[in-house]
């Protein structure tokens, strides 16, 4: 009795279909994805990212034609993660492959496919996105271009690439920003570029985690917990964007992971992954960049890239220290706004601040600035403003916009 070795077409085809002509190369790429190095850097919660790593392991076995081993691994995967629907689909395929050849990932009987609505397409998309994110890794030593300058206070940073359905978690150490883990995420049902309440879109921009909601106070739907971010931020509000309650949150008990486009605008992660983030990051100081496509640049290049703006900040700092109020006011845009106050309403408090300083220089502690470019070129700047001789000072945030070759401030306010 010999059992014919089954060839499964979907790995080379549907799953890795970005460029079918290169299927062989993609197979190779998949085999070479190193899970060991990824796992090494996440010792705190071994469960984070593990389910995906095991799924990819199954894919790799399939790519090598080792369907029997793949089936065993898929079986143990769904035993450990019974609500990992994509894993169930792959497990179903590997079982079905023992009785018939497969044409595609999720080669379900037609009546079942019809009854499932978009579920099958969603799972195929999820599979493709997970593979894509693992196949096309950020170059070593590179960081998203938004992180121009972080302070030691920003111990971690998060970047979400919605085109890859991927969240990247960074650690900010003395030697700079380094990627420690990345996870599959789901975003808004209607995609990205949130602009108004109820549009089921995920916002794009630079945000900060504002709090950590106790999962006990949340519905099961949110899984391991929730980290709200400050949407709408100053730029969003300036642009008339509405809506609220954009969170990073977990997944419901019956879905280990959800479709790539599934939420009402939040960013949703598998519970072990979110749990790992919750246990890692600090509220208020953790920036969350959400971009439709992250630009990865060499970590050392941002210093050069940020130098011109650092010089602008230095000029603002020196002007404020000098006490020349008219020259200082020239840094602010006519449509400046600080928590609802226009420049005319707000400038008296700037004047009194400057006169209180009495010519004492100010220092910018724990300065960070992140750049957001879309139709406008903006900077989100955070620092502690401390007068010479003083121990403490307010934590301030500024939003700058580039107008021609000049940077101007359109928001300034104390945030802590």
């Amino acid at each position: 009795m010999t059992r014919r070795l089954l060839s499964i077409f979907w790995l080379a085809g549907a799953v890795l279909s970005a460029a079918p002509a290169l299927a062989w190369a993609q197979d190779k790429a998949i085999r070479q994805i190193s899970l060991v190095t990824r796992a090494k850097s996440i010792p705190a919660t071994p469960a984070a990212g593990v389910a995906e790593a095991r799924l990819i392991d199954v894919y790799r076995l399939v790519a090598k034609g080792q369907n029997r081993d793949a089936l065993l691994k898929a079986e143990s995967l769904i035993r450990d993660y019974p609500t990992f629907l994509l894993a169930q689909l792959v497990y179903g395929d590997l079982l079905a492959a023992r009785t018939r050849p497969l044409q595609a990932l999720g080669d379900v009987p037609p009546d079942m496919a019809r009854a499932s609505g978009t579920a099958l397409t969603d799972l195929r998309d999820e599979s493709q996105l997970r593979l894509k994110a693992l196949r096309e890794r950020p170059p070593a030593g590179s960081i998203p271009s938004q992180f121009l300058s972080l302070s030691p206070r920003n111990k971690h940073a998060i970047a979400v690439d919605t085109s890859r359905a991927r969240l990247y978690l960074f650690e900010n150490t003395a030697t700079g920003l380094s990627l420690v883990a990345d996870y599959y995420v789901s975003v808004g049902k209607s995609g990205t570029e949130k602009s108004m309440e109820g549009d089921l879109r995920t916002p794009l921009g630079i945000y900060f985690i504002t709090s950590n909601l106790d999962p006990k106070t949340l519905r099961d739907f949110y899984g391991a917990g929730a980290l709200p971010i400050n949407y709408p931020n100053v730029l969003d509000t300036k642009r008339g964007k509405t809506g609220s309650g954009i969170w990073l949150h977990g997944n419901p008990p019956d879905q280990f992971s959800r479709a790539p486009l599934a939420t009402d605008g939040c960013v949703a992660l598998a519970n072990p992954d979110l749990d790992r983030i919750i246990r890692t990051v600090e509220i208020r100081t953790t920036p969350v960049v959400i971009a439709s496509q992250l630009q990865w640049v060499p970590a050392h290049s941002v210093q050069v890239e940020g130098k011109p703006f650092a010089d602008v900040l230095l000029a603002w700092q020196q002007t404020k220290s000098s006490g020349n109020i008219n020259k200082l006011l020239d840094f602010y845009t006519p449509d400046f706004n600080s928590f609802g106050k226009t420049l005319d309403q707000w400038s008296p408090s700037l004047r009194s601040e400057v006169s209180r300083l009495g010519g004492k220089p100010i220092q910018l502690k724990d300065l960070s600035f992140l750049r957001w470019k879309d139709s406008a070129d903006t900077m989100v700047v955070t620092f502690g403003e401390v007068a010479e001789g003083a121990q403490l000072g307010p934590v301030k945030r500024q939003y700058w916009v580039r107008q021609g070759d000049r940077w101007k401030i359109f928001f300034e306010g104390v945030i802590g």
Binding site: Y91, G92, S116, A119, L123
Partner: protein, 339 residues
């Protein structure tokens, strides 16, 4: 899903043939309490006897006592782990309770025990399909209530290979008609299968028949025999070809009216089973190798190695076809897997 196979009653030792035959006969007649009484009487003196314990498991299953049957077959797998049949029947019982993971494990054990065990392979194929369906339902979060029909797996009625230490393997020709695509049939083959006397029967028009040579050589006895052998071989090859082509008229037409469908199935029920089993396959190939035909008058026996492939399943097994000459064509009256 098919219930396939049946074993003809092959007994562990001839001495007990009558006891086994009697019990099997009672089971076939539906006299389950009597069969159970007789089996228990026998087991009172030979409590370890695998064949009778196996029959008892079948009786328990037929009596609607799956838990008892599972206990009986489980104990048999423990005492005689080299026998594939108890594993197979355990799988049938588990599948009947929708415990497909357990059914799968049992069938994999049956195959580990006997890698060419066609019935277990077929059953395993059905179990895989069902497990796949369950996984798909979970993956797509479908309501599974409308797909919950338990498949019918092939139950083995009697032990064929009591290849147990200390017991003689039967010398008789094994008749285990477990073709890879055997219909869902419980065969109730008699202990000593007898080819029914050939009755004149109308020739099935659709039957694929190898055309008789247009010009027959002068009739001499050896030549006639050679011709007969050739014709019988052509009939076997036509049967295999029709099967592979899913030509149901040709395939079913290869069987004579006297063909005794396995189990208590009527001819039409058997044909229905075969049709369901064959037409659903996307591709079938049936290889006939090492074909040896012995002709005796208007009867012939064809023995060969059958290489059956259907979709992902591939089974190579021994096959014996008994044929009789009806008019000018040879038709199958008995089909058996094994030697």
């Amino acid at each position: 899903m098919r219930l396939a196979a049946v074993a003809a009653c092959l007994v562990a030792t001839y001495a007990h043939a009558d006891d086994y035959g009697d019990v099997a006969q009672l089971v076939r007649a539906g006299k389950l309490p009597e069969a159970m009484t007789k089996a228990d009487q026998y087991l009172a003196t030979k409590p370890r006897d695998p064949q009778m314990r196996f029959l008892k498991g079948v009786i328990q299953r037929d009596s609607g006592k799956p838990a008892d049957a599972i206990a009986t077959f489980t104990k048999l797998t423990e005492d005689y782990p080299e026998l594939p049949e108890p594993y197979n029947n355990l799988a049938v019982l588990y599948a009947g309770q929708s415990q497909f993971d357990k059914a799968r494990t049992a069938l994999e054990m049956a195959i580990r025990t006997n890698p060419s065990y066609a019935t277990a392979h077929e059953n395993l194929g059905d179990v895989y399909a069902r497990l796949a369906s369950q996984a798909y339902n979970k993956a797509l979060q479908l309501d599974t209530t409308n797909t919950a029909v338990a498949p019918k797996l092939a139950l083995i009625r009697e032990l064929f290979t009591p290849n147990v230490k200390g017991q003689a393997r039967p010398a008789a020709t094994a008749t285990l008609p477990t073709t890879p695509a055997m219909p869902a049939v419980v065969a109730a083959a008699p202990a000593a299968p007898v080819v029914p006397a050939a009755k004149p029967a109308p020739v099935t028009p659709a039957a694929p028949v190898a055309a008789a040579p247009a010009a027959k050589p002068p009739v001499t006895a050896p030549a006639a025999s050679a011709d007969a052998s050739k014709d019988a071989e052509a009939a076997v090859r036509a049967w295999a070809a029709a099967w592979a082509k899913k030509d149901m008229a040709g395939y079913l037409g290869s069987y004579g009216k006297e063909f005794d469908p396995p189990g208590n199935l009527s001819r039409s029920a058997w044909e229905e089973e075969r049709r369901a089993r064959i037409v659903g396959k996307s591709s079938i190939s049936v290889g006939v190798d090492n074909l040896v035909i012995s002709v005796n008058g208007d009867k012939a026996v064809a023995k060969f190695r059958q290489s059956y492939k259907a979709d992902a399943l591939s089974v190579s097994s021994r096959k014996t076809l008994d044929l009789v000459k009806m008019g000018d064509r040879w038709v199958i009256v008995r089909e058996a897997a094994g030697a």
